[in-house]
Symmetry: C2
Subunit: 178 residues, 2 copies
DNA sequence: GGCGGCATGTAAGTTGTTACATGATTAA
DNA sequence: TTAATCATGTAACAACTTACATGCCGCC
């Protein structure tokens, strides 16, 4: 089941009509640590899905150039079929580990830099995830999906914690051996 | 610094001359949990790198149709430059989390299935990583890079453990609420 | 003789990134 | 009035997957 971009967009539309621009923003916030899409994917896919009848769109009356999309029955059905289908091979590419693997070819301080940048970035992710977690437990749950989202957030928290622990251990062992 | 496939191939060649076929095998074994390449990437890239003078190739005398590649000075230099450059944005795509995020649209047992498949797969990764770890500490270290590889393995162990812990917790919480 | 693994390669299609072009709206 | 953000979209390119075609080698 390829064409994954579309299912993310359809998923977002289950919570109500939004524009392509808004979809992009939501993906960047909510899915930031495990998914990404760009406009070059989003807009053509929306156009194509409308052509296929999975979504419909309307342009707001007040002369605004904003196009809002809504899910059709057919689109919802396609989403559910996707969600039920087995998860395909996940794709992960961690350049840091390639650079680590071959790190004997570069000075130690460069690898330390790479590690510290990685650590910082995931520390930020972790802070954000903790914030989301706190927020979600205190605001209303109109779509009844907070428990599901909390599970996803929990995944992020656990894996980011693991990354940071690894960074700390690795940095310590590199300091010792220098 | 794009064109990442090439640097992985150059990295492998630092340990001695090998063929494209062997590179593919090595990637599938050593990098399995954080990187992948396919023949459709490897062979054209090797051809192009030879053209650029980053590698050279020889066909074994004994009429075999096996082409073995070696690193040139220029190729080694290009690799080192890459290794020194900052790590770019990592790309991670975890479909499971998309399906989890929108799981209110599918029956509970389907999500449980997804989780168990994920858990199984990462349990296997973890077993393999533990095996590698044990092996590496007991065999000779001709290239003097076992410490570096162990760091990479450690990353894999830590993150896979985090994934599995998350699966267990999530499965338990879903059982309770069913 | 047939099977599995070794070995190389490409064509076609799909997917994804980046940079650009364009213009409206809003708040300081 | 000007900067930021909202908003849509495409063209060119780069990267990646999949399926296919081909043939060797060793062994049972």
């Amino acid at each position: 089941m390829a064409r994954k971009t579309r299912y993310v967009l359809l998923g977002l539309l289950t919570e109500g009509p939004i524009s392509g621009y808004e979809m992009n923003k939501l993906i960047k916030i909510r899915f930031r640590f495990f998914w990404d899409e760009s406009y070059g994917q989003i807009y053509p896919e929306l156009k194509y899905m409308e052509h296929e009848g999975l979504i419909t769109s309307t342009v707001a009356t007040e002369s605004r150039q904003k196009r809002t999309f809504s899910l059709t029955e057919k689109g919802y059905h396609a989403l559910v079929e996707y969600l039920k289908a087995p998860v395909e091979k996940e794709s992960v590419r961690l350049e840091l580990l390639i650079k680590m693997y071959f790190s004997k070819h570069i000075p130690n301080h460069v690898t330390v830099d790479h590690l510290m940048t990685f650590r910082d970035s995931h520390l930020k992710d972790l802070a954000l995830l903790n914030q989301f977690q706190t927020e979600l437990t205190s605001i209303p749950d109109p779509h009844g999906n907070h428990q599901d989202i909390l599970k996803v957030i929990n995944f992020g928290i656990k894996s980011n914690q693991a990354y940071i622990t690894w960074c700390d251990e690795t940095l310590k062992s590199m300091e010792k051996s220098k």
